[in-house]
């Protein structure tokens, strides 16, 4: 175990910000968000669950996947990706768990996603354990926990005496800790225990979800009031659907520059599954919401392994009409 003082940790972050793109929890007009930072002073060390997951730094909400330059009838295609190392500091364990779920599809299913793989390889995940569970959190039911190091490169745990315990998990984690000034400690300062656990939520096997697909009343009870606003997928650390569009960025005589961009998409969007000619196999809100829940608890695990939910609770807090994924899970368990 390695220990650091608050000052030591902040000095290390100052240094990381020089050497790499550093992403860390920051106060943005009263909102806690993972954002690029340039010094340790900007970084929050005591903070609740950031309002958005960190997936945007590995799977950007809008990402240029191709630069297309047309000169007359000639076309050149260029893939441009940042080469700088990236460190995400202060990642909550649930958000690392969410990336592991995306890995199962974007890295482990052939062919891998070239862009996501590139970002994943250049990124080191330094997590910060939670000392309590926040509003709506149910990570402990989803195979995670407030101090779960599993999907991180380093886990940082707040400890007694204002110290921090740094636990390297992977070789990448060992490497990133090399520049950390270590604190001299006596004995073994203990991590601050989790002060409050939320009640567990039942996780039902995929086979049972499958049998409930046609239970229209169950899905309508939750999904009929859905507004198709798509915020649940936006705040979700595992939702990964995308759209690809071209955006002309510069037009000059004899030359057109286009960016092909990939943008987040949402299965709760009315046009998501519409086909050419206008037919839509999921024309209603409740059918689309059923797809979202079925994807998370049945399709995704059957197709790719992990569940499509890590229990971060963000969709519960964000939903404007109080659709609660844990209530759906309870209903499915009790059906």
């Amino acid at each position: 175990m390695r220990y650091a003082t608050r000052e030591g940790l902040l000095a290390w972050l100052d240094r990381l910000a020089q050497e790499a793109d550093l992403i860390a929890p920051r106060d943005v007009d009263g909102h806690v968000l993972y954002r690029p930072v340039h010094s340790g002073a900007e970084v929050l060390l005591e903070y609740e669950r950031p309002e958005l997951p960190a997936k945007e730094f590995l799977f950007p909400a809008t990402e240029v996947i191709l630069r297309i330059e047309q000169r007359g009838k000639d076309v050149t295609l260029e893939e441009v990706l940042p080469d700088r190392r990236q460190v995400i500091f202060g990642l909550r364990p649930c958000d690392a768990h969410g990336l592991a779920a995306i890995d199962a599809l974007f890295l482990n299913q052939d062919p891998p996603d070239a862009y996501y793989r590139h970002h994943r390889e250049r990124t080191t995940l330094v997590g910060m354990a939670c000392t309590r569970m926040w509003d709506g959190c149910f990570c402990t039911s989803m195979g995670g926990g407030p101090a779960d190091p599993t999907h991180l490169d380093v886990l940082v745990r707040p400890a007694e005496g204002g110290l921090y315990i740094l636990q390297p998990v992977t070789p990448k984690g060992v490497a990133v800790l090399e520049s950390l000034p270590l604190a001299e400690v006596r004995g073994e300062p203990r991590p601050i225990p989790v002060e409050e656990y939320n009640p567990p939520v039942p996780v039902t096997p995929t086979e049972k979800w499958r049998t409930l697909f046609e239970e229209q009343r169950l899905w309508m009870r939750h999904g009929e009031r859905c507004l198709s606003c798509r915020i649940c997928t936006y705040v979700c650390p595992t939702c990964r659907c995308y759209d690809v569009v071209d955006r002309v960025v510069d037009v000059r005589p004899g030359r057109v520059l286009t960016e092909r961009i990939r943008v987040w998409d949402a299965c709760t969007s009315p046009n998501y599954r519409r086909v050419a000619g206008g037919h839509n196999p999921r024309p209603t809100n409740w059918e689309r919401l059923r797809n979202r829940f079925m994807c998370k608890f049945c399709y995704y695990p059957e197709d790719f392994g992990p569940l499509g939910c890590v229990g971060c609770g963000r969709c519960i807090v964000a939903c404007p009409v109080e659709i609660d994924i844990t209530e759906v899970m309870e209903d499915v368990a009790g059906a």
């Binding site: 076309v75 295609l77 974007f106 299913q109 690809v244 057109v256 050419a276 196999p281 079925m294 994807c295």
Partner: protein, 279 residues
């Protein structure tokens, strides 16, 4: 950046464009890079590809050509949306991108020796044309070929200039119908399912292959069933507005299945077993 980026299209050039039907054009694409030509050296009937109109985007289309008839790729495109309108505005010589070939294909080997019934509705005939060409070009490998070709109106019938070739082939029948007749139309009027009941091909040693709007596929399957066709004697190809073609973007899911990776070609019994229907 790794060399193998499945989202990067091969560069191509339009070498031919012709009107197939009202609002539908046939685009002929020559691939410019050796890598692209190698990738498309041996694509199969039923596979699809993304075609880019640079500056507007890319969209998936069933490939309507067959490699043994030449290296030029052909796509039938109905002007319905942003990308397809942009494609329609292009001229011969203009650049396009092609990404593929993607998806599974019609099991032409398994169909050898069978009597084949093809049922194409509108532009849904486009992905079936390579099946017809494969059968016509290896005519002795297959049994009787019955083609039922339909459209909403006569001006929407595709590949009409090939009707003579199809009709004159050995042991091949072509039946054409339109939902609504137009001026000068003297042929059948009615839905493809009505024509199917009238033609009533025997299910004996036969396989039926259909593509068209979802509602048409649904009723063609029902009518085929009435005629005695079993689920393992009916094939179709589904479509979706995909964005990756490699099982990542999520856009084409039907339950836990992906049209792009598990399909687009499916047996009727596979579809019948889907948790979520295509209709």
């Amino acid at each position: 950046m790794p060399l193998t980026n499945p989202m990067r299209p091969y560069r191509g050039r339009l070498v031919g464009i012709r009107n197939l039907a009202t609002g539908i054009k046939l685009f002929q694409v020559e691939l410019l890079e050796p890598e692209g030509r190698a990738a498309f050296a041996d694509y199969k009937p039923g596979q699809f590809a993304f075609v880019s109109a640079f500056g507007a985007g890319e969209a998936p289309f069933g490939i309507t050509s067959t490699p043994h008839r030449g290296p030029v790729l052909e796509f039938a495109v109905n002007a319905l949306g942003h990308v397809t309108f942009a494609l329609h505005s292009l001229d011969v010589g203009d650049p396009v991108g092609v990404r593929g070939p993607l998806g599974n294909w019609f099991p032409m080997d398994r169909l050898r020796g069978k009597n084949i019934v093809i049922l194409g509705g509108g532009i849904g005939g486009a992905p079936l044309r390579p099946v017809i060409h494969t059968i016509l070009d290896r005519r002795e490998d297959y049994g009787h070929l019955t083609i039922l070709w339909a459209a909403r109106s006569p001006d929407l019938l595709v590949f009409t200039e090939e009707f003579d070739e199809w009709r004159s082939a050995w042991a091949t029948d072509l039946h054409v119908t339109v939902d609504q007749a137009g001026p000068g139309w003297t042929g059948n009027v009615g839905l493809i399912t009505q024509l199917l009941e009238k033609v009533a091909p025997s299910p004996e040693n036969a396989v039926a292959i259909t593509c068209g709007p979802p509602i048409m596929i649904h009723f063609v399957f029902l009518t085929l069933k009435k005629l005695g066709f079993a689920p393992e004697q009916m094939l179709t190809t589904l479509e979706a507005r995909m964005h990756c073609g490699i099982g990542k973007c999520g856009r084409c899911n039907l339950g836990e299945k992906f049209v792009c990776k598990d399909g687009p070609v499916f047996w009727q019994y596979e579809i019948a077993g889907f948790l979520e229907g295509f209709l």
